[in-house]
Amino acid sequence: MRPSELGSFDWSLFLAVLFTCGVSLLTLFSATFQNPDLSGLVVRQAFWIGVGLLALLVMLSIDYHTLAGFTPLLYSASLLALGYLLFFGRSIAGTRGWLELGPMNMQPSEFVKIVLIMTVGTYIAATGGHKLGWRPLATLMVLGGVPLALILKQPDVGTAATLVPVLLVAVFVAGIQVRVLVILALILALALPIAWVTYFKDYQKERILTFVDPERDPQGAGYQVRQSKIAIGSGGLTGQGLFKGTQSKLQFLPAQQTDFIFAVVAEELGFAGAGMLVGLYLFMTLRCLAAARLARDKLGRYLALGFGTAFGCQSLVNLGMMVGLVPIVGIPLPLMSYGGSSMVATLMGFGLVLNVNMRRYVN
């Protein structure tokens, strides 16, 4: 790192990320301090934040062009890992997405997300200045489609779902020939009903139907949305007070240390805290997109755009679940939810964006 690079380091984004990690620790403490089964969660999360920050530093230090050079290797490794999971993966909460590494479990798909962002960025950067024609589009679809299919197979619909906007936004920004677009739209319109009948499992359909009509399943997913909305709504303007939320303390809120962590903040800190957190996520997303606009070259643009899109969309999906705007799919709130893989991968992604941003003036 050269001093000139450090001068263009995006401190505001970095501090926002650090601050969010702090909020995560505080909220996790609130969600778990009364539950002896979950003691030690905060310490573990702090450990993973430390690991993640180290990874961020690594991703930041190496020029992103150099990093992009590893893409084919990382991509292949990702496919291997996902393939391995299908046969030997450890099943947690119905998903074969976990790799057992000694005492801990790792979720490779979180890292595959970053690799896929790099892969898409590297590939589009190589297509030059043209809009995407049939061939590059097809290539992109295959590059993205294979890991996507493997993740869906686990089945981890939530993670897979966040990969789709990465591809779509990349294709949108890169531009697509009108002819191709029309035909694609037609195919999609045809494929959806067919997929509904053939691919989606009953419980997945049920989730989507429950989203449309929450009263359908008041004990299952409908119950979760209802309790989440009660938690959020009861927070009011200023909240029930830190550590005082009844929805979370008395276990009405499901998965409050992971997917539903936002509801804990909203219940205890009210609109003041929850609105600020939403603003913070928007801010971080926008800083990534700004990094994309300001990037020195096409590779930088697509790396930052890819991660910004992934981070923003995943945040929107998770927050949308909380307030009942999006069906319940198991997906964590990046930087907030408990989980080592997600934390480390997300921090690595920010490292990538900070990297691109820092090197925007370098020739």
């Binding site: 709504g233 009011g236 008395l250 276990q251 609105g275």
Partner: protein, 633 residues
């Protein structure tokens, strides 16, 4: 080169432009989220806050104790005791079989009973604890509590349970309690917040004063977690209103004397204060053990009681009606005197039979009683005299007078269910059988036969009406502090007393029954007892055969009704012995033993308030009213 640079420049511009579009989309989406958040938290916040507190705050009911029931001297008849129930948290079960064996050994139960109970409670929500075993001993409860660490799924909870310290004593009047039924929960008679598992009165006083005895539950607010488990006691919202204590008119000593006298015999006995209608003792024999019903699952006790041939659950005092037999002759005699069909001096010749309407009716005494007046006819229970008088009176006059004395209609006692009995009339026969009344039937009715049916309670009320000079009182079990004055004030319009002449004649005749007639077994030293025996034919096979030689089930029913002392009555009674044979031999001795208790120095003391009213009163009979022409004679 230029083209490439141009392309790259165009690409950069396009990318930046489109990235701005993506940026705007994100801003829009996040702003929409902020709006949603504002809507949920600030605009609908109040509603969600309510929902959140509904989630965690539960109102639990605080049980109210059922009221105690005491006798007229404030001695406890029914109270509550503490019972220890074993509760089980099924979520915490680790080793079901080991647990069952531990409990079965400790409680000396069959393991299968426990398994069955666990099986039947399976459908209930798992987080709700179940009552596994009811009413264990204190020692067993302590043993279970002491092993809390070993068996954390078990806990002991204390609840109030109905307790009848005198067991079977007065069981039918008191009644029993039980778990509220589905039908009762829907019924408006059981008002209040009663839920399944709650204990309510089923019969007797327990049932008829259910509202007073039940009280109403209090409410306590607790904080619960998502599994419904209480985490904090917020406080008492409303204290329970415990049930009201009831004071009965029953005298425990008299009740005991009555039941002891009736022991081993089926039947009923009712002893009333003739002035107020207060029930001093009321028994139906055999009785049941009401403590058995205080449990939640008394299925075995039920089946045993239901299959008992002596039907201990049947309240013979007020819910069963029987033929009155010769005791009915008093009704006919009173009617004849009142309607001036005869005078006390009128004599009728009894040759042992009478031919009426071309039909030969027999007297029970083969050779006949010779020439008898009303007193002789009652003392010796002469049938022929009453055949003739009945013929003169006609069925309508007999029926009117029977009702006048309270027969064939509910007495209005403060128990919910009561048999009406039956006094036949031509109209009744027309309506129910579609046949005309035959004049010959009147002759049978005149001696207490035919389709006549009365309850022992009605007979006791009749005795009270005769004792007080003709005023119908309403028998009641709950003490109201009645005085004769109050009773007098509440007397119904148009119900006037008998004339002195009627009363004197009836009293003399009934005293004669005890002094020298069929009721000698009821004589009490120093007290003039007025009474009338009755032997109600139960089966035609019993005619003219000694009761002892007949199978129990077809023996005649025995009656003895009366009052004492004859001149200033303080107690009126009816004793009924099912298949007892002759009234004089089985029913009269029961009355005697109760009367002896009532008039004994000890009895005097304990009966002081029972007799208070009548002692203050001088010889009250006859109580002649201003009177319409109908009643005065």
């Amino acid at each position: 080169m230029a083209l490439r640079e141009h392309l790259e420049y165009a690409e950069k511009m396009r990318t930046q432009r489109r990235t701005r579009v993506v940026t705007v989309l994100f801003i829009a989406a996040f702003t929409a989220y902020l709006g949603t958040l504002w809507y949920l938290q600030v605009i609908r916040g109040e509603m969600y806050r309510t929902l959140a507190s509904e989630n965690v705050l539960r109102t639990v009911k605080v049980p109210a104790y059922r009221g105690n029931i005491r006798d007229r001297h404030d001695r406890i008849l029914v109270s509550n005791r503490l019972a220890f129930n074993v509760y089980m948290d099924r979520e915490a079960i680790r080793d079901r079989e080991a647990l069952i064996h531990f409990l079965a050994a400790l409680l000396e139960m069959e393991p299968d009973v426990l398994r069955h109970r666990l099986e039947t409670t399976r459908p209930r929500p798992l987080e709700r604890r179940i009552v596994l075993v009811e009413d264990v001993t204190l020692k067993q409860a302590v043993s279970i509590e002491a092993r809390q660490l070993e068996w954390p799924e078990l806990s002991i909870e204390v609840e109030a349970r109905r307790s009848y310290p005198h067991g079977r004593l007065s069981a039918h009047a008191l009644g029993y309690v039980g778990e509220i039924s589905e039908a009762e929960m829907r019924s408006s008679a059981f008002a209040g917040d009663l839920v399944g598992g709650d204990i309510v009165g089923k019969t007797g006083i327990e049932r008829s004063y259910e509202t007073e005895l039940q009280g109403s539950k209090g409410a306590r607010r607790v904080r619960v977690n998502s599994r419904g488990r209480v985490v904090e006691d917020v406080g008492l919202d409303r204290p329970p209103r415990h049930g009201t204590d009831l004071r009965l008119t029953i005298d425990l000593d008299l009740q005991r004397a009555l039941e002891e006298a009736m022991a081993g015999q089926a039947g009923a006995g009712i002893f009333l204060d003739p002035w107020t209608g207060e029930v001093l003792a009321m028994a139906s024999s055999p009785a049941f053990e009401p403590n058995l019903f205080a449990r939640r699952f008394p299925a075995e006790a039920w089946n045993k009681l239901l299959s008992d041939p002596l039907k201990p659950l049947q309240n013979r005092a007020s819910l069963s009606s029987y033929s009155p037999g010769s005791t009915f002759k008093i009704v006919v005699a009173a009617a004849a005197l009142a309607d001036k069909v005869v005078t006390p001096a009128t004599t009728i010749f009894c040759p042992g039979y009478a031919v009426i309407y071309g039909h030969r009716f027999h007297c029970w005494k083969a050779g006949g009683h010779g020439s008898v007046n009303l007193e002789d006819a009652i003392v010796h229970s002469c049938n022929v005299y009453f055949y003739q008088v009945g013929k003169m009176l006609g069925i309508e006059a007999i029926a009117r007078f029977a009702r006048r004395l309270g027969l064939g209609e509910p007495t209005g006692i403060d128990l919910l269910r009561e048999a009406a009995g039956l006094i036949p009339t031509p109209r009744w026969k027309e309506e129910t059988r579609g046949q005309p009344w035959y004049a010959g039937e009147t002759i049978s009715v005149a001696i207490g036969q035919g389709p006549l049916n009365v309850t022992p309670l009605q007979m006791a009320r009749m005795a009270a009406t005769l004792a007080n000079g003709g005023r119908k009182v309403t028998p009641h079990l709950v003490y109201r502090g009645d005085t004769i004055e109050a009773a007098e004030a509440s007397r119904r319009h148009g119900e006037d007393g008998f004339t002195t002449r009627t009363m004197t004649a009836l009293r003399r005749a009934m005293v004669g029954v005890v002094e020298r007639g069929t009721g000698k077994a009821a004589r009490v030293a120093g007290i003039k007892v007025a009474g009338k025996t009755g032997t109600a034919q139960y089966s035609s096979r019993s005619a003219g055969v000694d009761a002892d030689e007949l199978p129990y089930a077809i023996r005649d029913h025995a009656w003895f009704v009366g009052f004492a002392p004859a001149e200033s009555p303080r107690i009126a009674f009816a004793v009924f012995i099912e298949h007892g044979g002759h009234g004089g031999t089985t029913a009269a001795p029961v009355a005697r033993r109760v009367l002896e208790r009532f008039f004994s120095p000890l009895g005097e003391e304990s009966a002081s308030s029972a007799g208070r009213g009548s002692r203050d009163m001088q010889v009250a009979a006859p109580m002649v009213g201003e009177g319409g022409p109908d009643a005065s004679l």
